[in-house]
Amino acid sequence: MNVKYFWLGKVILLCIPFSLCASSENGNSSGIIVKAASLQERPQLGAKAIAQLVAEQKVGILQREGGWYQIAVDEALNGWVKLLSVRFEKSAYRPGNMGVSALWSVVKSGHSDVTATTGVRGLGEEDIKKASANIEALKIMQGYEVKPQQAQEFAQSGKLKARKLAYLETVK
Protein backbone atom coordinates (compact mmCIF):
# COMPACT_ATOMS: atom_id res chain seq x y z
CA MET A 1 0.00 0.00 0.00
CA ASN A 2 1.35 3.42 -0.90
CA VAL A 3 2.05 5.11 2.40
CA LYS A 4 1.52 8.58 1.03
CA TYR A 5 -2.02 7.84 -0.14
CA PHE A 6 -2.77 5.97 3.02
CA TRP A 7 -2.12 9.11 5.04
CA LEU A 8 -3.65 11.42 2.46
CA GLY A 9 -6.88 9.46 2.70
CA LYS A 10 -6.88 9.76 6.47
CA VAL A 11 -6.15 13.47 6.43
CA ILE A 12 -8.95 14.13 3.96
CA LEU A 13 -11.39 12.12 6.04
CA LEU A 14 -10.32 13.97 9.15
CA CYS A 15 -10.56 17.41 7.60
CA ILE A 16 -14.20 17.02 6.66
CA PRO A 17 -15.71 16.91 10.13
CA PHE A 18 -12.94 19.04 11.50
CA SER A 19 -13.93 21.87 9.25
CA LEU A 20 -17.60 21.48 10.12
CA CYS A 21 -17.13 21.49 13.84
CA ALA A 22 -13.76 21.53 15.50
CA SER A 23 -14.41 19.59 18.66
CA SER A 24 -13.11 16.43 20.25
CA GLU A 25 -16.52 14.83 20.65
CA ASN A 26 -16.15 12.47 17.76
CA GLY A 27 -12.74 11.30 18.95
CA ASN A 28 -10.42 13.58 16.94
CA SER A 29 -7.10 13.83 18.63
CA SER A 30 -7.25 17.36 19.94
CA GLY A 31 -4.13 19.00 21.17
CA ILE A 32 -3.11 22.05 23.12
CA ILE A 33 0.14 23.91 22.59
CA VAL A 34 2.21 23.76 25.76
CA LYS A 35 4.58 26.67 25.15
CA ALA A 36 5.28 29.14 22.38
CA ALA A 37 6.47 27.21 19.35
CA SER A 38 6.85 27.63 15.65
CA LEU A 39 4.75 25.79 13.11
CA GLN A 40 7.05 24.44 10.44
CA GLU A 41 6.61 23.44 6.86
CA ARG A 42 8.33 20.10 7.30
CA PRO A 43 9.19 17.77 10.23
CA GLN A 44 12.82 18.88 10.30
CA LEU A 45 14.98 21.19 12.34
CA GLY A 46 15.64 24.29 10.32
CA ALA A 47 12.59 23.87 8.10
CA LYS A 48 10.74 27.04 7.19
CA ALA A 49 8.53 28.44 9.94
CA ILE A 50 5.07 29.25 8.61
CA ALA A 51 3.38 30.48 11.78
CA GLN A 52 3.96 31.12 15.46
CA LEU A 53 1.90 29.22 18.02
CA VAL A 54 1.07 30.41 21.50
CA ALA A 55 0.64 28.50 24.73
CA GLU A 56 -2.89 27.13 25.28
CA GLN A 57 -3.70 27.39 21.59
CA LYS A 58 -5.99 24.53 20.45
CA VAL A 59 -4.95 22.41 17.48
CA GLY A 60 -5.94 19.15 15.81
CA ILE A 61 -3.33 16.41 15.80
CA LEU A 62 -3.18 14.60 12.47
CA GLN A 63 -0.18 12.27 12.63
CA ARG A 64 3.29 11.80 14.03
CA GLU A 65 6.62 11.46 12.35
CA GLY A 66 9.43 10.81 14.80
CA GLY A 67 9.73 13.83 17.11
CA TRP A 68 7.13 15.92 15.27
CA TYR A 69 3.35 16.13 15.14
CA GLN A 70 1.53 17.31 12.05
CA ILE A 71 -1.18 19.61 13.35
CA ALA A 72 -4.10 21.50 11.91
CA VAL A 73 -4.38 25.04 13.22
CA ASP A 74 -7.57 25.69 11.25
CA GLU A 75 -9.13 24.50 7.99
CA ALA A 76 -6.60 26.37 5.97
CA LEU A 77 -3.41 25.95 7.94
CA ASN A 78 -1.48 22.92 8.97
CA GLY A 79 2.17 22.18 9.61
CA TRP A 80 4.60 20.45 11.91
CA VAL A 81 5.49 21.15 15.52
CA LYS A 82 7.93 19.53 17.96
CA LEU A 83 6.38 16.64 19.85
CA LEU A 84 6.95 17.98 23.35
CA SER A 85 5.37 21.33 22.46
CA VAL A 86 1.98 19.68 22.45
CA ARG A 87 -0.17 17.94 25.00
CA PHE A 88 -3.34 15.99 24.24
CA GLU A 89 -6.61 17.51 25.34
CA LYS A 90 -8.18 15.64 28.20
CA SER A 91 -11.18 13.63 27.18
CA ALA A 92 -13.52 11.05 28.61
CA TYR A 93 -12.09 7.62 28.05
CA ARG A 94 -13.60 5.39 25.42
CA PRO A 95 -11.85 2.12 24.62
CA GLY A 96 -9.17 2.73 22.02
CA ASN A 97 -10.25 6.26 21.25
CA MET A 98 -6.76 7.56 21.89
CA GLY A 99 -4.84 4.98 19.98
CA VAL A 100 -4.44 3.60 16.53
CA SER A 101 -8.19 3.52 15.96
CA ALA A 102 -8.49 7.22 16.79
CA LEU A 103 -7.88 8.14 13.19
CA TRP A 104 -10.77 5.93 12.24
CA SER A 105 -13.17 7.29 14.79
CA VAL A 106 -14.34 9.87 12.32
CA VAL A 107 -15.49 7.12 10.01
CA LYS A 108 -17.08 4.94 12.66
CA SER A 109 -19.95 6.25 14.72
CA GLY A 110 -19.03 8.65 17.47
CA HIS A 111 -20.60 6.59 20.18
CA SER A 112 -18.66 3.85 21.81
CA ASP A 113 -20.21 2.58 25.00
CA VAL A 114 -17.57 1.28 27.37
CA THR A 115 -19.77 -1.58 28.52
CA ALA A 116 -20.76 -2.64 25.02
CA THR A 117 -17.46 -4.41 24.33
CA THR A 118 -17.45 -8.12 24.96
CA GLY A 119 -15.63 -9.57 27.93
CA VAL A 120 -15.16 -6.37 29.87
CA ARG A 121 -12.82 -7.25 32.66
CA GLY A 122 -11.41 -4.84 35.12
CA LEU A 123 -8.03 -5.39 36.72
CA GLY A 124 -8.29 -3.44 39.91
CA GLU A 125 -6.83 -3.75 43.33
CA GLU A 126 -9.53 -6.15 44.47
CA ASP A 127 -9.03 -8.46 41.50
CA ILE A 128 -5.37 -8.85 42.38
CA LYS A 129 -5.90 -9.15 46.12
CA LYS A 130 -8.25 -12.10 45.80
CA ALA A 131 -6.28 -13.88 43.07
CA SER A 132 -4.71 -17.28 43.53
CA ALA A 133 -2.17 -19.01 41.30
CA ASN A 134 -3.27 -20.15 37.85
CA ILE A 135 -0.63 -22.68 36.82
CA GLU A 136 -2.34 -23.67 33.59
CA ALA A 137 -2.27 -20.08 32.40
CA LEU A 138 1.42 -19.84 33.31
CA LYS A 139 2.15 -22.88 31.15
CA ILE A 140 0.24 -21.36 28.25
CA MET A 141 2.15 -18.12 28.66
CA GLN A 142 5.45 -19.97 28.61
CA GLY A 143 4.31 -21.60 25.38
CA TYR A 144 4.26 -18.20 23.69
CA GLU A 145 7.99 -17.72 24.26
CA VAL A 146 9.93 -16.39 21.29
CA LYS A 147 13.57 -17.41 21.04
CA PRO A 148 16.40 -14.97 20.23
CA GLN A 149 16.72 -16.28 16.66
CA GLN A 150 13.04 -15.60 15.96
CA ALA A 151 13.36 -12.15 17.49
CA GLN A 152 16.36 -11.45 15.26
CA GLU A 153 14.38 -12.46 12.15
CA PHE A 154 11.46 -10.33 13.28
CA ALA A 155 13.80 -7.34 13.67
CA GLN A 156 15.29 -7.95 10.23
CA SER A 157 11.90 -8.05 8.55
CA GLY A 158 11.13 -4.68 10.14
CA LYS A 159 14.55 -3.34 9.12
CA LEU A 160 15.45 -2.79 12.75
CA LYS A 161 19.20 -2.79 13.35
CA ALA A 162 20.52 -3.12 16.87
CA ARG A 163 22.73 -0.24 17.91
CA LYS A 164 25.19 0.17 20.76
CA LEU A 165 24.13 2.90 23.13
CA ALA A 166 25.30 3.66 26.63
CA TYR A 167 22.87 4.44 29.42
CA LEU A 168 22.63 8.16 29.99
CA GLU A 169 24.27 9.97 32.87
CA THR A 170 21.69 11.11 35.39
CA VAL A 171 20.68 14.69 34.74
CA LYS A 172 20.65 16.72 37.93
Partner: protein, 294 residues
Protein backbone atom coordinates in the same frame (compact mmCIF):
# COMPACT_ATOMS: atom_id res chain seq x y z
CA UNK B 1 0.83 -29.64 65.52
CA UNK B 2 0.87 -27.98 62.13
CA UNK B 3 4.01 -26.11 63.15
CA UNK B 4 5.71 -29.33 64.15
CA UNK B 5 4.89 -30.92 60.80
CA UNK B 6 6.18 -27.90 58.92
CA UNK B 7 9.40 -27.91 60.88
CA UNK B 8 9.87 -31.64 60.34
CA UNK B 9 9.30 -31.25 56.60
CA UNK B 10 11.73 -28.36 56.54
CA UNK B 11 14.30 -30.40 58.42
CA UNK B 12 13.81 -33.33 56.04
CA UNK B 13 14.12 -31.09 53.03
CA UNK B 14 17.25 -29.49 54.36
CA UNK B 15 18.86 -32.82 55.23
CA UNK B 16 17.90 -34.39 51.94
CA UNK B 17 19.19 -31.58 49.84
CA UNK B 18 22.35 -30.83 51.75
CA UNK B 19 23.50 -34.40 52.11
CA UNK B 20 24.42 -34.80 48.47
CA UNK B 21 24.90 -32.55 45.50
CA UNK B 22 21.92 -33.05 43.23
CA UNK B 23 20.53 -31.00 40.45
CA UNK B 24 17.11 -30.93 38.92
CA UNK B 25 16.58 -28.89 35.80
CA UNK B 26 20.02 -27.39 36.38
CA UNK B 27 18.97 -26.04 39.75
CA UNK B 28 21.59 -26.94 42.31
CA UNK B 29 19.41 -27.69 45.28
CA UNK B 30 22.25 -27.92 47.75
CA UNK B 31 23.31 -24.43 46.89
CA UNK B 32 19.74 -23.23 47.08
CA UNK B 33 19.52 -24.38 50.66
CA UNK B 34 22.98 -23.15 51.62
CA UNK B 35 21.94 -19.77 50.34
CA UNK B 36 19.05 -19.87 52.71
CA UNK B 37 21.27 -19.80 55.74
CA UNK B 38 21.24 -16.04 55.37
CA UNK B 39 18.37 -14.61 53.41
CA UNK B 40 20.56 -13.89 50.43
CA UNK B 41 24.07 -14.60 49.18
CA UNK B 42 26.24 -11.50 49.21
CA UNK B 43 23.16 -9.34 49.36
CA UNK B 44 21.68 -10.75 46.17
CA UNK B 45 18.90 -13.21 45.51
CA UNK B 46 20.17 -16.10 43.40
CA UNK B 47 18.84 -16.67 39.91
CA UNK B 48 17.19 -19.91 40.95
CA UNK B 49 15.32 -18.18 43.73
CA UNK B 50 14.44 -15.33 41.38
CA UNK B 51 12.94 -17.82 38.92
CA UNK B 52 10.89 -19.56 41.58
CA UNK B 53 9.57 -16.21 42.76
CA UNK B 54 8.86 -15.07 39.22
CA UNK B 55 6.96 -18.26 38.34
CA UNK B 56 4.78 -18.01 41.40
CA UNK B 57 4.09 -14.27 41.22
CA UNK B 58 3.19 -14.47 37.54
CA UNK B 59 0.87 -17.41 38.19
CA UNK B 60 -0.94 -15.29 40.79
CA UNK B 61 -1.43 -12.35 38.43
CA UNK B 62 -2.70 -14.76 35.79
CA UNK B 63 -5.18 -15.88 38.41
CA UNK B 64 -6.58 -12.33 38.52
CA UNK B 65 -7.29 -11.93 34.81
CA UNK B 66 -7.24 -14.29 31.81
CA UNK B 67 -4.83 -14.28 28.90
CA UNK B 68 -5.99 -12.74 25.65
CA UNK B 69 -7.17 -15.63 23.41
CA UNK B 70 -5.52 -14.50 20.17
CA UNK B 71 -2.34 -16.49 19.63
CA UNK B 72 -1.00 -14.29 16.82
CA UNK B 73 -1.32 -11.25 19.02
CA UNK B 74 0.56 -13.01 21.82
CA UNK B 75 3.29 -14.05 19.38
CA UNK B 76 3.64 -10.51 18.06
CA UNK B 77 4.06 -9.00 21.52
CA UNK B 78 6.63 -11.69 22.33
CA UNK B 79 8.60 -10.87 19.20
CA UNK B 80 8.75 -7.17 20.00
CA UNK B 81 9.51 -7.86 23.66
CA UNK B 82 12.22 -10.43 23.02
CA UNK B 83 13.91 -8.14 20.49
CA UNK B 84 14.07 -5.33 23.04
CA UNK B 85 15.15 -7.71 25.85
CA UNK B 86 18.00 -8.91 23.63
CA UNK B 87 19.48 -5.42 23.94
CA UNK B 88 19.67 -5.62 27.72
CA UNK B 89 22.39 -6.87 30.05
CA UNK B 90 20.15 -9.83 31.00
CA UNK B 91 19.38 -11.05 27.50
CA UNK B 92 19.89 -14.68 28.51
CA UNK B 93 16.85 -14.83 30.79
CA UNK B 94 13.90 -16.87 29.42
CA UNK B 95 11.85 -13.78 28.58
CA UNK B 96 8.09 -14.34 28.44
CA UNK B 97 5.50 -11.72 27.43
CA UNK B 98 1.72 -11.91 27.32
CA UNK B 99 -1.40 -9.82 26.72
CA UNK B 100 -4.07 -9.84 29.41
CA UNK B 101 -7.72 -9.82 28.41
CA UNK B 102 -8.66 -6.69 30.32
CA UNK B 103 -9.89 -3.29 29.20
CA UNK B 104 -7.95 -1.63 32.02
CA UNK B 105 -4.67 0.06 31.10
CA UNK B 106 -1.63 -1.48 32.74
CA UNK B 107 1.57 -3.47 32.39
CA UNK B 108 3.46 -5.61 34.91
CA UNK B 109 6.95 -7.01 35.32
CA UNK B 110 7.77 -10.08 37.43
CA UNK B 111 11.22 -11.35 38.43
CA UNK B 112 13.23 -13.58 36.05
CA UNK B 113 11.72 -12.15 32.87
CA UNK B 114 7.91 -12.15 32.86
CA UNK B 115 6.06 -9.14 31.40
CA UNK B 116 2.29 -8.65 31.10
CA UNK B 117 0.44 -5.91 29.20
CA UNK B 118 -3.31 -5.37 29.09
CA UNK B 119 -5.46 -5.24 25.98
CA UNK B 120 -6.70 -1.86 27.22
CA UNK B 121 -3.21 -0.37 27.12
CA UNK B 122 -2.42 -1.94 23.72
CA UNK B 123 -5.58 -0.41 22.28
CA UNK B 124 -4.31 3.02 23.20
CA UNK B 125 -0.95 2.72 21.47
CA UNK B 126 -0.34 3.90 17.91
CA UNK B 127 2.84 2.20 16.80
CA UNK B 128 5.27 -0.63 17.45
CA UNK B 129 7.76 1.86 18.90
CA UNK B 130 5.22 2.75 21.60
CA UNK B 131 4.70 -0.93 22.40
CA UNK B 132 8.48 -1.38 22.51
CA UNK B 133 8.72 1.58 24.90
CA UNK B 134 6.17 0.10 27.32
CA UNK B 135 7.85 -3.32 27.22
CA UNK B 136 11.29 -1.71 27.59
CA UNK B 137 10.17 -0.01 30.80
CA UNK B 138 9.00 -3.36 32.22
CA UNK B 139 12.18 -5.09 31.03
CA UNK B 140 14.18 -2.42 32.86
CA UNK B 141 12.39 -3.25 36.14
CA UNK B 142 13.65 -6.82 35.70
CA UNK B 143 17.21 -5.95 34.68
CA UNK B 144 17.43 -3.59 37.66
CA UNK B 145 15.79 -6.18 39.96
CA UNK B 146 13.43 -3.57 41.39
CA UNK B 147 10.84 -6.05 42.67
CA UNK B 148 13.46 -8.30 44.26
CA UNK B 149 15.00 -5.33 46.06
CA UNK B 150 11.56 -4.25 47.27
CA UNK B 151 10.93 -7.74 48.65
CA UNK B 152 14.28 -7.63 50.43
CA UNK B 153 13.50 -4.21 51.86
CA UNK B 154 10.12 -5.40 53.11
CA UNK B 155 11.69 -8.57 54.44
CA UNK B 156 8.12 -9.53 55.18
CA UNK B 157 8.18 -13.09 54.11
CA UNK B 158 10.04 -16.10 55.33
CA UNK B 159 11.48 -16.75 51.87
CA UNK B 160 13.68 -19.61 52.83
CA UNK B 161 11.14 -21.81 54.51
CA UNK B 162 8.94 -21.52 51.45
CA UNK B 163 11.77 -22.17 49.04
CA UNK B 164 13.17 -25.11 50.99
CA UNK B 165 9.83 -26.85 50.77
CA UNK B 166 9.60 -26.06 47.08
CA UNK B 167 13.12 -27.37 46.58
CA UNK B 168 12.17 -30.77 47.99
CA UNK B 169 9.18 -30.94 45.67
CA UNK B 170 11.28 -29.97 42.68
CA UNK B 171 13.59 -32.88 43.51
CA UNK B 172 10.65 -35.23 43.53
CA UNK B 173 9.30 -33.86 40.25
CA UNK B 174 9.72 -36.05 37.20
CA UNK B 175 12.72 -35.50 35.00
CA UNK B 176 10.87 -34.71 31.78
CA UNK B 177 12.89 -31.78 30.53
CA UNK B 178 10.27 -29.64 28.88
CA UNK B 179 11.86 -26.31 29.54
CA UNK B 180 11.09 -25.12 33.05
CA UNK B 181 9.05 -27.83 34.69
CA UNK B 182 6.14 -26.40 36.62
CA UNK B 183 5.03 -29.68 38.20
CA UNK B 184 6.37 -28.46 41.48
CA UNK B 185 3.94 -25.56 41.43
CA UNK B 186 1.01 -27.91 40.95
CA UNK B 187 2.05 -30.03 43.87
CA UNK B 188 3.16 -27.24 46.06
CA UNK B 189 0.65 -24.95 47.63
CA UNK B 190 1.86 -21.44 47.75
CA UNK B 191 1.86 -20.42 51.33
CA UNK B 192 -0.31 -17.54 52.36
CA UNK B 193 2.62 -15.31 52.97
CA UNK B 194 4.04 -15.54 49.45
CA UNK B 195 0.56 -15.00 48.06
CA UNK B 196 0.14 -11.98 50.32
CA UNK B 197 3.49 -10.55 49.27
CA UNK B 198 2.45 -10.77 45.61
CA UNK B 199 -0.91 -9.12 46.32
CA UNK B 200 0.78 -6.29 48.14
CA UNK B 201 3.63 -5.69 45.74
CA UNK B 202 1.40 -5.39 42.69
CA UNK B 203 -1.30 -3.24 44.26
CA UNK B 204 1.07 -0.90 46.07
CA UNK B 205 3.69 -0.56 43.35
CA UNK B 206 7.37 0.27 43.52
CA UNK B 207 9.12 3.42 44.74
CA UNK B 208 8.87 6.49 42.55
CA UNK B 209 12.59 6.51 41.89
CA UNK B 210 12.38 2.93 40.56
CA UNK B 211 9.68 4.00 38.09
CA UNK B 212 11.76 6.95 36.91
CA UNK B 213 14.82 4.74 36.58
CA UNK B 214 12.86 2.21 34.52
CA UNK B 215 11.76 5.06 32.22
CA UNK B 216 15.37 6.18 31.70
CA UNK B 217 16.78 2.68 31.19
CA UNK B 218 13.83 1.67 29.03
CA UNK B 219 14.38 4.72 26.83
CA UNK B 220 17.87 3.48 25.98
CA UNK B 221 16.82 -0.18 25.56
CA UNK B 222 14.17 0.74 23.00
CA UNK B 223 16.66 2.97 21.18
CA UNK B 224 19.22 0.12 21.10
CA UNK B 225 16.52 -1.99 19.44
CA UNK B 226 16.31 0.74 16.76
CA UNK B 227 12.89 2.07 17.76
CA UNK B 228 12.24 5.80 17.59
CA UNK B 229 13.11 7.62 20.78
CA UNK B 230 9.72 9.28 21.26
CA UNK B 231 7.66 6.13 21.86
CA UNK B 232 7.50 6.47 25.63
CA UNK B 233 6.82 10.22 25.42
CA UNK B 234 3.78 9.58 23.24
CA UNK B 235 2.52 6.93 25.68
CA UNK B 236 2.86 9.46 28.54
CA UNK B 237 1.06 12.10 26.50
CA UNK B 238 -1.75 9.63 25.82
CA UNK B 239 -2.07 8.59 29.45
CA UNK B 240 -2.05 12.22 30.58
CA UNK B 241 -5.07 12.93 28.45
CA UNK B 242 -7.30 10.24 29.92
CA UNK B 243 -9.54 11.32 32.78
CA UNK B 244 -7.56 10.23 35.87
CA UNK B 245 -10.80 9.33 37.65
CA UNK B 246 -11.62 6.73 35.05
CA UNK B 247 -11.72 3.27 36.61
CA UNK B 248 -9.67 1.83 33.74
CA UNK B 249 -6.74 3.85 35.04
CA UNK B 250 -7.27 3.25 38.75
CA UNK B 251 -4.60 0.65 39.45
CA UNK B 252 -2.07 2.23 37.08
CA UNK B 253 -2.36 5.61 38.78
CA UNK B 254 -2.30 4.04 42.23
CA UNK B 255 1.01 2.33 41.50
CA UNK B 256 2.85 4.83 39.29
CA UNK B 257 3.76 8.53 39.38
CA UNK B 258 1.65 10.88 37.25
CA UNK B 259 2.43 10.51 33.54
CA UNK B 260 2.96 14.27 33.22
CA UNK B 261 5.64 14.12 35.91
CA UNK B 262 7.27 11.14 34.24
CA UNK B 263 7.32 12.96 30.93
CA UNK B 264 8.81 16.07 32.50
CA UNK B 265 11.64 14.03 34.06
CA UNK B 266 12.19 12.04 30.88
CA UNK B 267 12.44 15.04 28.53
CA UNK B 268 16.09 15.97 29.18
CA UNK B 269 17.10 12.38 28.38
CA UNK B 270 15.14 12.42 25.14
CA UNK B 271 16.90 15.67 24.27
CA UNK B 272 20.27 14.04 24.93
CA UNK B 273 19.44 11.24 22.50
CA UNK B 274 18.27 13.82 19.97
CA UNK B 275 21.64 15.49 20.24
CA UNK B 276 23.28 12.14 19.54
CA UNK B 277 21.16 11.91 16.37
CA UNK B 278 19.58 8.65 17.44
CA UNK B 279 16.65 8.30 15.04
CA UNK B 280 14.96 4.87 15.00
CA UNK B 281 11.74 3.52 13.50
CA UNK B 282 8.09 3.84 14.44
CA UNK B 283 6.93 0.64 12.66
CA UNK B 284 3.35 1.92 12.70
CA UNK B 285 2.07 -0.18 9.82
CA UNK B 286 3.35 -3.44 11.25
CA UNK B 287 1.70 -2.56 14.59
CA UNK B 288 -1.66 -1.84 12.91
CA UNK B 289 -1.41 -5.08 10.96
CA UNK B 290 -0.68 -7.20 14.01
CA UNK B 291 -3.16 -5.65 16.44
CA UNK B 292 -6.32 -6.16 14.46
CA UNK B 293 -7.49 -8.71 16.99
CA UNK B 294 -7.84 -6.00 19.63
Amino acid sequence: MKHLMQNLLLLMALTLTSSCKMTVQNIDLGRLVDVGKGLTTQGEISLEKEMLLGDQMTAVLLGAVPLHPDKQLQQYVNKVGRWVAQQSERSLLPWNFAVLDSTDLNAFAMPSGYVLITKGLLQNLHSESELAAVLAHEIAHITQKHHLKEIERQNSMDLMSNLAMVASDVYQAKQNNKGRSLDYLKDQQITERLLGATHELYTKGLRKEDEFEADRIGLVLAARADYDIYGLAVVMQTLSAIDPEDSHMALLFATHPQPSERLKLLSPYINKLEQQSVIGKMAQQRFELNTQAL
